[in-house]
């Protein structure tokens, strides 16, 4: 289950050591924007140690490496891939070739280290106009790609407009990303909410993202995590419906019927897949013993 992803600055021990206590389903240890050029080397070592020695039990671990137009990305991968992080997030992915370049280097590292091929997944960060246009290409460029992440801040710089709380300027990009991701059969993650101090606005922003079809949302502030988790968790209604779907299928199978309909709608494969996913999330949530924010 990956509803929320929290960026943690890769060179700040204080924040990293508490990383998985903040309630996010995934943490993104950031070697890029959160780290100054003079500290890239130190951050890389710190993040490597953190993954290796701190047990991030409650959160998945992603690492945002530096972009390919920097001198750092290969060292980042060389340092981190041996630790087998769940996902690498390469920034400024603009076309399939970008993804393939990262993919090959990781493959090389995996094979050198005797790690099973394809262990490390990719979540390309789309934050350029070209990247948005090429989103489908990027999503299908490699088997490693498990999701697309939207980067609103840098994107608006490329679009030459202001990044606003309302987000009109990134609306096309959001929708395009979701389309491309779903067409490619992978997940889609929305860009962080801009206002760290707005504890209410985050709900609206997350709800909007959900309504567009995003799987979840990234965040730069721990204060937004609970809201994101809440919004992207299945509602009781969703869960009930999911069980109904599975029940309808079970009954239809028993009766030897092929075509199944529920509440006047035909139940086809995508609906079943969604129902199964919802049930899986519901069970995971139940296991998390009620969650923290009642």
């Amino acid at each position: 289950m990956r509803r929320s992803m929290l960026f943690l600055p890769g060179n700040t021990p204080n924040i990293i050591i508490n990383g998985d206590e903040l309630g996010a389903d995934a943490v993104i240890l950031d070697l890029e924007d959160a780290v100054s050029p003079s500290e890239k080397d130190a951050a890389r070592i710190l993040v490597r140690n953190a993954i290796k020695l701190l047990k991030f039990e409650k959160s998945e671990v992603l690492v945002r490496i530096n972009s390919m137009d920097s001198e750092y990305w290969k060292s980042d991968l060389a340092e981190i891939v041996p630790l087998k992080p769940d996902v690498i997030m390469p920034p400024k992915m603009s076309c399939a070739a970008d993804v393939q370049a990262i993919d090959s280097y990781i493959t090389e590292l995996e094979s050198r280290l005797g790690i099973e091929n394809n262990t490390v997944k990719l979540m390309p960060l789309i934050e350029t106009a070209l990247g948005v246009e090429n989103a489908f290409q990027i999503a299908t460029a490699s088997r490693r790609v498990c999701a697309l992440q939207l980067g609103g801040e840098d994107l608006t710089a490329d679009l030459r407009c202001k990044r606003t709380k309302e987000g009109n300027e990134i609306d096309y990009a959001r929708k395009r990303l979701v389309c491309a991701a779903r067409a490619a059969g992978v997940d889609a993650y929305d860009t962080p909410f801009t206002d760290v101090n707005d504890d209410e606005g985050i709900y609206a922003d997350a709800e909007y993202a959900k309504s567009l079809g995003f799987t979840g949302k990234a965040s730069i502030s721990p204060r937004h995590v609970a809201a994101i988790n809440q919004v992207f968790s299945p509602s009781q209604e969703d869960i009930d419906y999911a069980y109904e779907v599975m029940e309808a299928i079970r009954i239809a199978k028993e009766q030897g019927r092929g075509a199944i309909s529920l509440r006047g709608k035909m139940i086809d494969a995508p609906i079943v897949a969604r129902a199964q996913q919802t049930i899986a999330m519901a069970e995971e949530l139940l296991m998390m013993a009620g969650g923290r924010y009642e």
Binding site: E21, L22, P222, R223, G290, R292
Partner: protein
């Protein structure tokens, strides 16, 4: 009846008959903005009076000059319920011959009333007073709200001097301490700095870990079986404690629970709860912020109570005895649930019980909220550096990595486990912490006893040694 109004502080001290070896007392309602204690002690020092015992309900960094007075033997003994780090450091280094006597906010009035710690001259800083000594903390440029800790001094000291910076025409409307206890009144330019007296507003923590613990604390209360109509509650003024109050308020409003009273240590958050109908009344022994001061002035349901009424174990009854839930802090807690709020892990004095032991003893549910470790130091140890509150009075420890319930309270443990809360044995919490931080080496205790921790009933709970 002659006028009690005296022109100078010196005159008041002279008239009071203060002599070597006597005890003077002060309340701490002006907190770190207080000028009075320093003013009085400076005058006493200038008058060459030595060997005094200072009985101050609490001491803050602003009272650092007390150390100089101690070095010059103006002060030879200190009795207090709380001592901030700057002063505590000197005490821990052994600057005084006689050990400091730490009591609690309930134990202090009890000891004064029973004659264990008799006060010769009480100096009462009063934000407003008339010339006969009817005074209050609710009004004036240096308003501090409740004068709860001043009552026992006013009512039991041999001589009482009121010091005010807002002299009002007789009779003062809405007095707290009546003139019947007062010997002299002195007007000064300023009794304190308003910005140090009350914070503009106390704020809930923004720290994400603090918020998580606060949410868990609210859940513990919710599933404790105590959260129903008639519920009563006290919380500390720290960020996470206040956040817990906010989460609790949300739950109470959602479930339409009408509590009876809020107690404390009152902040704007408690006032919000009163206004929202979560409580019928607030019982206030100390105001922490401007909102609380304004509320105690204007809302008849927000009542001032004396320290005796608040927590004295020798009163026929005290409010803490009727308290359902209290949220407290700790610098250390051991596997027997004994709590330390007097020293840091190195043994330096930087606190004191305040109302800790009293509320823990009285409340049906006493809960500690604390992060599992602070800067590599686990909060759970084998044995606390100093016992401030005995483990038998502590029910729950809430950390971000789990909740420990005192085995004495088996029923509560079961309830909370059933409710799906992450209940962990306290020994396991210690192990979890040490796995992350490493196992800290034990620190050797110093040779000299620098302070005694006297429990609310007058017995010696622990001794603090030099560092």
């Amino acid at each position: 009846m002659s006028n009690k109004l005296v022109k100078t502080l010196r005159e008041a001290i002279e008239l009071s008959g203060l002599k070597e070896g006597m005890t003077v007392s002060f309340h701490h309602h002006l907190r770190n903005g207080d000028y009075v204690l320093n003013m009085v002690m400076e005058e006493i020092a200038a008058m060459n009076i030595k060997g005094l015992t200072v009985n101050a309900s609490s001491l803050f960094d602003t009272h650092l000059p007390l150390i100089d007075h101690a070095r010059k033997n103006v002060v030879t003994k200190i009795q207090t319920d709380y001592m901030s780090g700057a002063i505590g450091r000197f005490i821990s280094q052994g600057v005084m011959e006689e050990p400091v006597e730490f009591r609690t906010h309930g134990g202090r009035p009890s000891a004064i009333e029973l004659g264990v710690t008799p006060v010769d001259v009480a100096f009462i800083a009063a934000p407003s007073s008339d010339a006969m000594g009817n005074c209050t903390g609710k009004y004036g440029k240096s308003a501090c709200g409740s004068l709860g800790y001043a009552f026992p001094d006013a009512m039991n000291a041999k001589k009482v001097v009121v010091i005010t910076d807002n002299l009002m025409p007789y009779p003062l409307a809405d007095w707290s301490i009546p003139e019947t206890y007062v010997d002299y009144v002195v007007e000064v330019e300023a009794i304190g700095d308003p910005s140090g007296i009350v914070s503009g507003t106390t704020k809930i923590t923004r720290d994400p870990i603090g918020l998580i613990m606060a949410a868990d604390a609210a859940r513990v209360i919710r599933h404790s079986g105590l959260l129903e109509d008639g519920f009563s509650f006290q919380t500390g003024a720290g960020g996470a404690s206040l956040a817990a109050a906010k989460f609790l308020k949300d739950i109470m409003l959602r479930e339409n629970i009408k509590g009876s009273f809020g107690l404390g240590g009152i902040t704007g958050y408690m006032v919000d709860m009163l206004k929202a109908g979560c409580f019928q009344s607030l019982l206030d022994v100390q105001c922490f912020d401007l909102e609380a001061v304004e509320s105690i002035r204007s809302n008849p349901n927000h009542q001032e109570i004396s320290a005796t009424h608040y927590a004295s174990p020798s009163a026929k009854s005290a409010v803490v005895d009727s308290l359902d839930v209290v949220i407290l802090g700790a610098t250390e807690i051991d596997t027997d649930f004994n709590v330390n709020v007097h020293t840091d892990s190195n043994g330096y004095i930087m606190g004191g019980s305040g109302g800790h032991s009293d509320t823990a003893a009285g409340a049906k549910l006493s809960m500690i909220i604390a992060p599992l470790s602070r800067a590599r130091l686990p909060i759970v140890t084998d044995r606390v550096t100093c016992i401030s509150t005995p483990g038998k009075d502590i029910d729950v420890l809430v950390t971000q990595k789990g909740i420990a319930v005192n085995p004495r309270n088996r029923e509560l443990g079961e309830r909370l486990r059933q409710a799906g809360l992450p209940i962990v044995d306290i020994h396991e919490l210690k192990r979890i912490a040490e796995r992350i931080t490493g196992v800290p080496q034990r620190i050797e205790k110093g040779e000299r006893a620098v302070a005694k921790v006297i429990y609310r009933d007058g017995t010696l709970l622990d001794t603090i040694y030099s560092v």
